[in-house]
Symmetry: C2
Subunit: 569 residues, 2 copies
C-alpha cells in the first residue's frame, strides 16, 4: 500500500456517506477511499420509499439509480469513482488511538481492522420501535430499510385491506396518501393533532379535514397499548386507549432515532438531542472523525439551538461539506431550518423555520398572520388556493417561520421563505421581493407579498386580527360578540359559519347598513379570506366603531364546522 | 367641502392607481380620494390580455373582477372603498402652483380643475408604434388596451389564419403560445434572437428550438420595412428585410414606452430611461406629486442603475408604497430585479437580476454556470428537466442573476433566486439553503443547490468548464480538440453531437481506456448534463492529462445541431 495516500474511511453507504466519498474523490484524486455498509444496498433514496410502496415508483432499483439509469452499486463506485465499497460489512468498534475500525463481514463472520487517517460516520437512523407488546408479529413493519418497504408493498398487493398506521407525522401521512385508494387506513396518533411537530394546530386541523374527507380514520390523542395477533403470530388488531382496530397490516411510523452506538462507544460527544454533536465543519469531538446525515444533530438557524432533523436533503449537503474537509478543505455547514414538505391527497403541506407554538415556547415575542390566496391569477385556468401562515418576531420584525398548505403551489412559496429565513429577512424585506409574475405562475402581488403586507399591517397596529382558534375559544366560552360576515350573498348561500351570533352584511352595503350594528358590542368580521374582513374593520372604525377586529383566514381557513346546507338568498 | 379632508388625486385607474387609492383609504379613512381614468375600464389585469386573446380566459370581465367575482367598477370603488372614480376623463395639465389638475370629460367635452393636496401619476405606458408605413391598416394591432385585445381575439375566431407578430419579446412569445394552435404564426424580430433583452443567446436558442418545433416561423435579425394592405385598407402582407410574409392579422409587440406627457409638461424630472424619475418614496421632483407603475423608472437592485421595467407586479407594489405615503407614511420602494417569467408552449422561462451579457456590459468580473437537472426526484412520475444558468461576480462571489428554463418547475427556482438576490446572497450562501425536499417536489439536492455547487467548483478552480457557445466557436474556427462523450451506450445511440472530433468512452470505462486518448491535444468532455463531464475531467487530470475541460449543460442544453438518426450500438 502506498504510504503517502490519505486513507479516508466512511461508515454508512446510504446518503451522506456516498456523497462524502464522491466529493472527497473529486477534491483529492490520490486518496484511498473506502465505504463500509452493513446492508446490501448503496446510495438509495430512502425518502422515495412511500412512493415505491404506493407503486408510483415501480421498481426499488429506481431508487438506487442515477437520473440516467445507472445503478450505484459497488462496481459503479469502483469503476467510476475509484472508491472501495464493502457491503454486508458491519463496523463494530473504533480504535481512536490506533486510528482503525474493526469491521465484520456479515456473511463470512471474518473481522479485520481498517486503518484511517480521516473517519466519517454516516451511520444514519433507525425507526423508533415503541415498547409495546406485539411489535414482532408478522405484518408489523417499521420501514427501516428497502426490504421492509418491499414487504409492505407486497402485503397490500396481496390483499391486506385494513392498514393501521401508528404515527400521524410526515411519513405516516405520506403512507396514508399512497395507500389511501388501495386500503382502509386508520392513523393512530398520540398527540391531539397530526403533524403536530410541523404545524400549528389550526393548520393541522385543516389537514385532518382532508384526511377524513378521503376516508382515513383518525384516532388522535390516543396511545397504542398493544398489537394483537392470531394463533399463528400474524397481526389482527391494534388496541389503543381509544378502542381496538382490526388490522391486516400495521406500519409503525413513529419517527426515527440516530444510530450512535459506534460513536458513543468510541467516547465521541453526543448532543442534547441524543445525536452525535458536530461543529460547523461537521467534525465530532475527535478532529479526525467527521459525522453527517441522520446520525448527527444540527443547529437550527433561527433559534441557534441543537435540533434533530433527519432529512435526505440535509444528509446530502452534509456529505459535500465532509468530503471537502476530509480532503483538506474548510467548508462549513451553517445549520438547518427544519424545512419539510409533503403531499397528502390533493393537499400540499410545507413548513420551515419555527412554528408559532415553537417560537412561543422559545420565548419570542411572536406575531403571526394566516393568509389564504390563489396560487396564480384567479382568472387563469387551474388557479388553486393556498394558505400561508407567517410567523415573525414582533420586536425585530424578523421572519421566524412559515407554514403553507393547500392544493395550490405551496412548494414555491415554501422555498422562497427558506431563502428569506436563511438570509435573515424581515417581513418588510419580504414584501419588497421582486417576485415573478405572469398569470400562469402567480398573482400580480404574490401570495407571499400579500401575506407579508398583512402581517406588516398587523405589526403596525393597523389590522386588528385574531387567530381562528381564539374565535372558537370565545364562542365556546359563550362570550358576547357579533360575528360579521361581509361576503356576497352568493358566497353566503354556499357556505356559512353555523353560529347564532353571525350577522350578514355584504361589504358593498356596509357603509349604508352599519347603523344596524351595535356600537357597544365587540364585532369580529370575516369574509372568504378576511381581506374584506380587514376592509370592513377600517370602514367600521371610520364610522366610529371602537371594538372591531377580524379573524384571519376567513371561511377559507376556518378549521371548524361549516354549514353548507342549501339555502335561499 | 370639508376643508380639513386631505385631497388625494390619482391619475390612472389600471394598476398602481387603484392600488394606491385603496391603500390610502385604509391608511386615512378621512381623505377625499379621486381616481381619474381616461378609458372606460378600471383596475384590470393587463398581463392577462394574451390569455384572454387565446381564450383561456373566456370573458374580459374576468380580468377586471376580484377573486370572488366582484367587478371593480366605479360603483364598487364608491360603495366599498369610498373612492370617487371619473372614467372617460382625461387629465390635460397639472398646475403645480395652484395644485390643480385640468381634466376633460371625453363624452361631454366639459373641463374642470380638480384640486389636490397630494397628486399621484399612474399614467402607465403605451405600446411602441414603429414608424413604418401601414401601421394604420385594418388588422394591425398593438394591444394597448382591452378593446384591441378583444379585436385580436375576434379576428382569430373569425378565421384569421396567418398571424405575423412583430417583436420576439415576452408579449410576442406569449401570443405565439396562445395562438399557436389556432393560426400560423410568424414572428419578426430585429435582434438575432428572441427574448434578447431577457436571456443570454445560448438560452434564447433553446427557446427558438421549441418555437420552431411548434411550427412558429422565426424571422430573426430582420426589420419590418412596411405593412401592406389590399385596396380596402385591410392588411395583407408584412414586408421585412428578409422577405415578405402574408398576413391576415398583424400584432405589433415591440415593447411599451412610459406615458410621461403630463409629467413632462408640468416640468417634472424625467430619468435617463425617459420615464418619470422618482425617489425611494416614489416622489417625483415635486414632493407633493408621486408616481408609480409603468410611467416611472426603477432602480435595479443589482446594478444600482435606473431601468425601465414596466410590470403589473411592480405597479401593484408601487401602489401600496404610494398609498402609504400620500396618507402621511414613509414607506420605501427599494427597486427591482427585472424579474420576468413566461410560458412558451411546454417551456417555462424565467429570469431575474442580470444576464451574463448585461453583467459583462456593466463591467462585472463575471463567472457563470449552466446546469440542467430534473425538477423533482427522477424516479417520481412527472419529473421534468429544467436548465439553470447562474451568474455571479467572481470577485465577491455575490450572485448577480439567474436564467431558468425548461418544461419543469422553473417558477419556484426563479423566485428563490429573487429572494437570494434581494438579500445579497453569495453563491456559497445559496448552496447552504435548507430547501424543501420530498420526491413529489424536488430532488435531495435541489437543482439550485446543485447549480450553486457547480458554480462554486468553477470559482474555486476545480471545475474547468466552458460555455457551449465557446465550443461552437472553436468548432467553426476549425480548432484541434477532442470532444469526449462519456455517456452510456444507450444514451449515445439515442442522440449525438454530429462532429468528427467526437470520441465516445463511457465514464465507467474511462479509467481503463484513458490511454486511447491523446495527452497532447485539448480534450473537452461532455455528457447529458455535464456532471459526468466534470467527473471525467477530474479522472483524466488524476491520470496526468493537463488540458481537459468540459462544456456546460451537456447534450441537454446544447443549443446547436444534434444527430438523432437511428444507430446501432
Amino acid at each position: 500500500m502506498d504510504e503517502k495516500r490519505k486513507r479516508i474511511l466512511i461508515i454508512g453507504g446510504v446518503a451522506a456517506g456516498p456523497k462524502a466519498a464522491a466529493r472527497a474523490r473529486r477534491c483529492d484524486p490520490g486518496a484511498e477511499i473506502t465505504i463500509v455498509e452493513e446492508g446490501s444496498f448503496l446510495s438509495y433514496a430512502g425518502c422515495g420509499m412511500p412512493f415505491y410502496i404506493g407503486g408510483m415508483v415501480e421498481k426499488h432499483e429506481e431508487l438506487m439509480a442515477t437520473p440516467v439509469g445507472v445503478v450505484r452499486d459497488a462496481a459503479f463506485f469502483r469503476n467510476v469513482k475509484d472508491i472501495n465499497v464493502l457491503t454486508g460489512t458491519r463496523a463494530e468498534a473504533i480504535d481512536r488511538e490506533n486510528k482503525t475500525v474493526r469491521v465484520t463481514n456479515l456473511a463470512t463472520r471474518e473481522t479485520c481492522d481498517l486503518p484511517y487517517d480521516k473517519l466519517v460516520l454516516a451511520t444514519g437512523s433507525k425507526p423508533v420501535r415503541p415498547p409495546i407488546p406485539g411489535m414482532d408479529l408478522a405484518g408489523v413493519y417499521t420501514l427501516g430499510n428497502l426490504e421492509e418497504a418491499r414487504a409492505v408493498r407486497q402485503a397490500v398487493e396481496q390483499g391486506a385491506r385494513r392498514v393501521v398506521i401508528i404515527g400521524g407525522g410526515l411519513i405516516g401521512l405520506e403512507l396514508a396518501d399512497v395507500l389511501g385508494t388501495k386500503a382502509e387506513i386508520t392513523i393512530v396518533e398520540m398527540m391531539d393533532h397530526v403533524l403536530s411537530t410541523l404545524l400549528d394546530p389550526e393548520l393541522s386541523i385543516l389537514v385532518e379535514r382532508v384526511l377524513r374527507g378521503k376516508g382515513v380514520q383518525l384516532i388522535l390523542g390516543s396511545r397504542v397499548e398493544r398489537i394483537e395477533g392470531d394463533g399463528n403470530g400474524a397481526v389482527v388488531r391494534v388496541v389503543t386507549t381509544a378502542g381496538s382496530f382490526d388490522a391486516d397490516l400495521v406500519v409503525v411510523a413513529a419517527g426515527v432515532r440516530p444510530r450512535v452506538e459506534l460513536a458513543r462507544e468510541a467516547g465521541l460527544e453526543l448532543g442534547e438531542t441524543g445525536a452525535i454533536k458536530v461543529n460547523e465543519y461537521l467534525q465530532t469531538s475527535d478532529p479526525d472523525i467527521y459525522a453527517g446525515g441522520d446520525c448527527v444533530e444540527n443547529i437550527h438557524l433561527i433559534s441557534g439551538r441543537p435540533v434533530y432533523t433527519p432529512m435526505g436533503s440535509v444528509a446530502n449537503r452534509h456529505g459535500r461539506v465532509i468530503g471537502d474537509n476530509v480532503a483538506g478543505g474548510r467548508d462549513t455547514f451553517p445549520g438547518v431550518l427544519g424545512t419539510a414538505i409533503l403531499k397528502v391527497f390533493e393537499m400540499n403541506i410545507g413548513r420551515t423555520g419555527l412554528s408559532e407554538s415553537e417560537a412561543r415556547r422559545l420565548g419570542y415575542h411572536v406575531e403571526s398572520f394566516i393568509c389564504p390566496a390563489p396560487d396564480r391569477a384567479h382568472f387563469y385556468p387551474g388557479s388553486k388556493p393556498i394558505i400561508i401562515k407567517l410567523v415573525a418576531d414582533a420586536s425585530t420584525r424578523k421572519l421566524l417561520g412559515a407554514q403553507i398548505l393547500g392544493p395550490g403551489d405551496v412548494n414555491k412559496r415554501l422555498d422562497v421563505m427558506v431563502a428569506a429565513l436563511s438570509m435573515g429577512a424581515t417581513v418588510d424585506q419580504l414584501a419588497t421581493f421582486d417576485l415573478a409574475y405572469a398569470p400562469p405562475f402567480s398573482t400580480a402581488l404574490d401570495p407571499l407579498t400579500h401575506a407579508a403586507n398583512c402581517l406588516r399591517n398587523k405589526l403596525d397596529g393597523r389590522a386588528r386580527s385574531i387567530n381562528p382558534l381564539e374565535v372558537k375559544k370565545r364562542l365556546e366560552a359563550g362570550e358576547d360578540f357579533v360575528l360579521l360576515d361581509v361576503r356576497t350573498p352568493a358566497e353566503f348561500n354556499e357556505v356559512r359559519l353555523p353560529y347564532p351570533n353571525v350577522v350578514f352584511i355584504p361589504l358593498g352595503k356596509l357603509r349604508e347598513r352599519a347603523k344596524e350594528l351595535p356600537k357597544d358590542r365587540e364585532i369580529i368580521v370575516f369574509c372568504k379570506v378576511s381581506l374584506r374582513g380587514w376592509e370592513a374593520q377600517t370602514i367600521l372604525e371610520s364610522l366610529g366603531f371602537t371594538n372591531v377586529s377580524f379573524f384571519e383566514g376567513g371561511i377559507a381557513a376556518w378549521p371548524f364546522e361549516l354549514d353548507t346546507s342549501p339555502r335561499q338568498s
